[in-house]
Symmetry: C2
Subunit: 180 residues, 2 copies
Amino acid sequence: MALEHAILVSLLEQPGSGYELARRFDRSIGRFWTATHQQIYRVLRRMEADGWIAAEEVAQDGRPDKKVYSAAAPGRAVLAGWLREPVEPETVRHELAVKIRAAAFDDPSALVAEVERHRESHAALLARYLSGERRDFPAGAALDAQQQLQHVVLRGGIEYERMTLAWLDDVLATLHRLGN
Amino acid sequence: MALEHAILVSLLEQPGSGYELARRFDRSIGRFWTATHQQIYRVLRRMEADGWIAAEEVAQDGRPDKKVYSAAAPGRAVLAGWLREPVEPETVRHELAVKIRAAAFDDPSALVAEVERHRESHAALLARYLSGERRDFPAGAALDAQQQLQHVVLRGGIEYERMTLAWLDDVLATLHRLGN
DNA sequence: TCCTGCTATGCAACGAGTTGCATAGGCAAT
DNA sequence: ATTGCCTATGCAACTCGTTGCATAGCAGGA
């Protein structure tokens, strides 16, 4: 389990409440690590109990109080130790690929609309990545280590989306060829 | 859950025992869907009880008997229905990306060896994909629908590995820049 | 005014997935 | 002879992750 580590990184980049973390996981971090608010709250409580993170109650007017968490020294140490461990093999779950192979035993054209829907959502994500890149990493700007590392991860996302778009075009062409 | 569907596709392409399925999931299918033998045996029993697949006991000499499963008509119907449902959003778990961002709060050069290890394993996988492609899909050969769909999924894997290799080079260059 | 949605946290129950272990015969190498 | 690995299946216990629901005040639109 590495949800702890993803949360620690997020809190080091910027302290925040469970709710704020959940929203970050829906947005930027969710591109390479997903989590629901339930998981996040549970893990936050455990990490606080273990002393990895520190919590501060913050009163707000007009909305409920929140607990703002930030990474504590033991948390940083845990993260540093984890960094030196080898990455565990990822568990891949590529449902669309399963469906494409399944289409051989059914009507391949039944998949066309779904693949097109995918294509659109990947195109939209690519556009968001690119505009985020222009906003946060303008050409020629001096970047510190944290920003350079964030940028290289974003570039990975951009290249992944470009590759996926090209592949989905290939899939569509194949499906159309089979439909004739 | 779509492990049922991945198993159904695999059994339609080729009937087999739980053990054989587990090995297929370690190899070809595991590139886009991973599963342990425990999961597979459990799901097979459930699918057999539900009539999605049929089992046949096969005696072997020199080794234990095995149960060879094949997809039954209700299973095919389930698969056809599933094909028409929208693909669920994938849950992404990209541990290396988390580590790269974590490196900003530690020594970035601690990651170099790990990234290089990744680079090697992706290069090896690409080589295996390419040799598999030459073997199974030689240029100019006539392919039926099933083979064309398998081929387009394989092309996706190949392009993914190529993109990943280029990105890992980008990551290494970034880490080296930060190390000076 | 009612309905919807947002912020903010949490419980309870369930289902999915992992880990460790067990059985059991055969094969190959040390 | 013993050790270790391969085929083949399975139990039990556990952790991880998801889903549905609950609370509770405030803001904005129909």
